[in-house]
């Protein structure tokens, strides 16, 4: 099916067909990265701006490589080097970018909704590269791609998402995406880091979303365990007493992983705090797909760029 959206703002707005179109397109692009000459001319003459208001290595680089492998010109702007830090407002930023006529703008911002606000101000395609605790659609798509690649399906799988649910845009986007494709998602973490009513987050869904009372309960029998990064500053905000206690109570160890299904895969959006939310043994085990996620991120982002701005050259 054709992908007719101007922007990719979140998973919540996407239909099952649109999600599958992105994943299928990504599959055809994955092979490009395995070639000796890793470049196709699909987006020649197009300009992609990576506008990052938060530190990011993986996502920004992934988008940059994706754009370049499609022959687009990629420009990186980070908040510290743009005039944003000099008191320029959102609308001024938008107008200045618009004046440079980019085809797509990838934006990461600490405030939820900025991609949505920006999309109303510029004609370029906006890709949400993570907006506060709201959504991170490309991460969820690459996670789904990775799961599908290893499990052959998403429908019917038991997926545990564990950690700082409250501040996680990855958890929100994955909750929407995986349940929409029919997975059963169980959420766990300290109750202080799970927002009220989380189980009511999803809509139009084939799967289910539940909040578990204990990490072990969420992991038991899971086909996929997705661990989330815990940030040190949450400790000082009185969400939990200490990193040591967190790692014992909520961290993923080989022992805890035994509760999961025997062919369970382990994922993490990175960057990983080894020994805190996940032990080194698990990170380095054969179960871990953390680096596959990174590899697949490029293919998925190539697909998204191509579907959003590549249609005329098709």
């Amino acid at each position: 099916m054709a992908f007719t959206r101007k922007d990719l703002l979140g998973i919540r707005e996407l239909s099952v067909e649109e999600i599958n179109t992105i994943l299928d397109t990504a599959e055809s692009f994955k092979e490009v990265s395995a070639r000796t000459i890793k470049k196709v001319p699909a987006l020649r003459g197009k300009t992609v701006i990576n506008l990052f208001f938060e530190a990011s290595t993986r996502t920004r680089t992934s988008f940059e490589i994706a754009a370049k492998r499609l022959s687009a010109d990629a420009v990186n702007i980070s908040a510290s080097t743009s005039s944003v830090s000099k008191g320029e407002s959102l609308i001024d930023t938008a107008q200045n970018l618009q004046a440079m006529a980019p085809d797509a703008i990838v934006i990461r911002h600490p405030s939820p909704g900025v991609p949505h606000q920006l999309s109303r101000m510029v004609s370029a395609s906006i890709i949400n590269g993570g907006d506060g605790a709201h959504e991170h659609p490309t991460q969820a798509l690459l996670d789904a791609f990775t799961i599908r690649e290893h499990k052959g399906r998403i429908a019917g799988l038991q997926v545990a998402i564990v950690g700082d649910i409250m501040h996680s845009r990855v958890a929100r986007s994955n909750a929407h995406l995986l349940t929409r494709l029919g997975a059963h998602v169980r959420i766990a973490g300290p109750r202080t880091l799970i927002p009220i009513g989380y189980e009511k987050l999803i809509e139009n869904s084939e799967g289910s979303l539940t909040v578990s009372d204990h990490v072990d309960e969420a992991i038991a029998g899971s086909d996929v365990v997705m661990m989330l990064r815990i940030q040190r500053e949450r400790m000082t905000d009185a969400f939990f007493p200490s990193l040591k206690e967190y790692s014992v109570q909520y961290g993923l160890t080989l022992r805890r992983l035994e509760l999961a299904s025997s062919d369970c895969i382990v994922m993490h959006p990175g960057p990983v705090n080894r020994g805190i939310e996940i032990s080194s043994e698990v990170v380095d085990s054969a179960r871990s797909l953390i680096l596959d996620q990174v590899t697949n991120g490029v293919a998925v982002r190539m697909a998204i760029l191509f579907l959003l701005i590549g249609t005329e050259s098709q």
Binding site: S111, G113, V114, H116, P195, I196
Partner: protein, 423 residues
């Protein structure tokens, strides 16, 4: 100077009046209400088919002057008031400087007199600079014309300070108005805490943050015997607390805004910063409870919490944009559309909350068409449909969540002391 407002349906809840009659005005005061009148040589305003009521009173308006005249001035705010049918407005003290002493109070009153539009009643601060620490000079502000005290927007967190404020305000016959919010419990919040804050990844303010503060204030009112007014009440449990306090006979009153009656936190989806206010838009259950509290008389007043902000400020990121919306020019239309046309609240009850209800809450003159009262009068068309166009506001600011809304019920004319002021 004589004027007859002729043939209108006069509704005045202060005297349980609802009849079609002529309202005779002389020398700026209500002279009489007659079934028919001789209009020879007298100015006549034809109100046939229209509703004639006491001028509306808004207990909660931010006029931004002194200090933030780019958002609103006393003159532009007063013009917005009379455009919306309000003849009296209470100006909140969170200006720059804060209205925490008599000189600022006098400045506001002088400016309002120069504007010559709505009557402006300053509300003084509870504490110096609204810092919640030392009491402001309430008695002097009262002598200068302040009608109540409030640290609106910066609730007094120290309960002992609030207790002293209530005791002292009681001595001086001032109502204590509180923006009820536990600032620790609501820390960092930018919208209601619930399904939608979880969905949008925005930090929520829980109902408990408001209710715990309402409960505290009611307990302090009971202890001190002070008159307490809960500003912009927004949750189901808050109205239940006020309902019980009233049953107990405590001097507790409350107001509700049109936007909390009309909208829920579902409106935040899309990140329009004109849906950001404090208290935040709540859940549908809360909204339904507010309408019930309107119906059963728990709520004393509809107040707009008119909070002008420049569009440059509202065009920021949702969590960085300032809280508040303008309301004076949409209040009647929203109230009639939501309460009367959609929820069948009797028209007299709505008018009560715009007239004698607020007048009694702050002991203001007005709110009545009793013979001899100042002829502050609002005339409106209950059935007239119109579309909100923020570009036509008299207010300097455009930050309304109702842009493009189709409303039923519109102000036709506003009279202050018998003079037409709507223009």
């Amino acid at each position: 100077m004589k004027l007859i407002i002729k043939g209108g349906r006069i509704i005045d809840p202060s005297q349980q009046l609802d009849k079609t009659a002529d309202l005779l005005i002389e020398d700026g005061r209500v002279k009489s209400i007659e079934d028919s009148s001789n209009d020879d040589g007298v100015e006549v305003f034809d109100a046939s088919g229209l509703i004639v009521t006491p001028g509306f009173i808004d207990l909660h308006v931010h006029l931004r002057e002194p200090g933030e005249e780019y958002k609103e001035t006393i003159t532009s705010g007063a013009a917005a008031a009379v455009a919306g049918g309000f003849t009296s407005i209470c100006a909140m003290p969170n200006t720059r400087p804060v209205n925490d002493n008599a000189s600022v109070t006098r400045f506001i009153i002088d400016k309002a007199r120069e504007a010559g539009l709505a009557r402006v009643y300053p509300v003084g601060a509870i504490t110096r600079e609204s810092k919640g620490e030392e009491l402001a000079e309430m008695a002097e502000m009262k002598e200068a014309g302040a009608v109540a005290v409030s640290d609106d927007g910066r609730p007094v967190m120290d309960s002992q300070v609030m207790r002293h404020a209530m005791e002292y305000a009681r001595d001086h016959g001032l109502v204590v108005v509180d923006h009820c919010q536990d600032l620790h419990l609501a820390a960092g919040g930018v919208m209601n805490e619930g399904r939608y804050s979880t969905l949008l990844g925005l930090k929520g303010m829980s109902n408990a943050a408001e209710q715990s503060h309402v409960a505290r204030d009611i307990m302090l009112a009971e202890m001190t015997g002070a008159r307490v007014h809960i500003a912009h009440i927004s949750t189901a449990s808050s109205v239940e607390l006020v309902r019980r306090a009233k049953r107990q006979g405590l001097a507790v009153t409350c107001e509700v805004t049109p936007h909390h009656l009309a909208l829920t936190d579902a409106a935040v989806v899309g990140f329009d910063t004109n849906t950001k206010m404090s208290p935040p838009l709540r859940s549908e259950e809360d909204r339904a409870a507010l309408i019930e509290a309107v119906r059963d008389g728990t709520i004393d007043a509809i107040a707009t919490d008119h909070a002008p902000h420049h569009s440059d400020e509202k065009m920021l990121e949702y969590d960085l944009a300032p809280s508040g919306v303008v309301g004076l020019e949409t209040a009647l239309g929203v109230a009639l559309t939501v309460l009367h046309h959609s929820s069948a609240v009797p028209i007299a009850r709505i008018i009560e909350m715009l007239t004698i209800g607020p007048a009694r809450a702050f002991s203001l003159t007005g709110g009545s068409l009793a013979v001899g009262s100042p002829a502050d009068i609002t005339v409106f068309d209950l059935e007239r449909a119109w579309t909100v166009d923020s570009q036509r506001f008299k207010s300097k600011s455009r930050n309304t969540p109702f842009a493009g809304w189709k409303l039923t019920g519109q102000v036709s004319e506003t009279f202050i002391a018998g003079q037409r002021v709507r223009g």
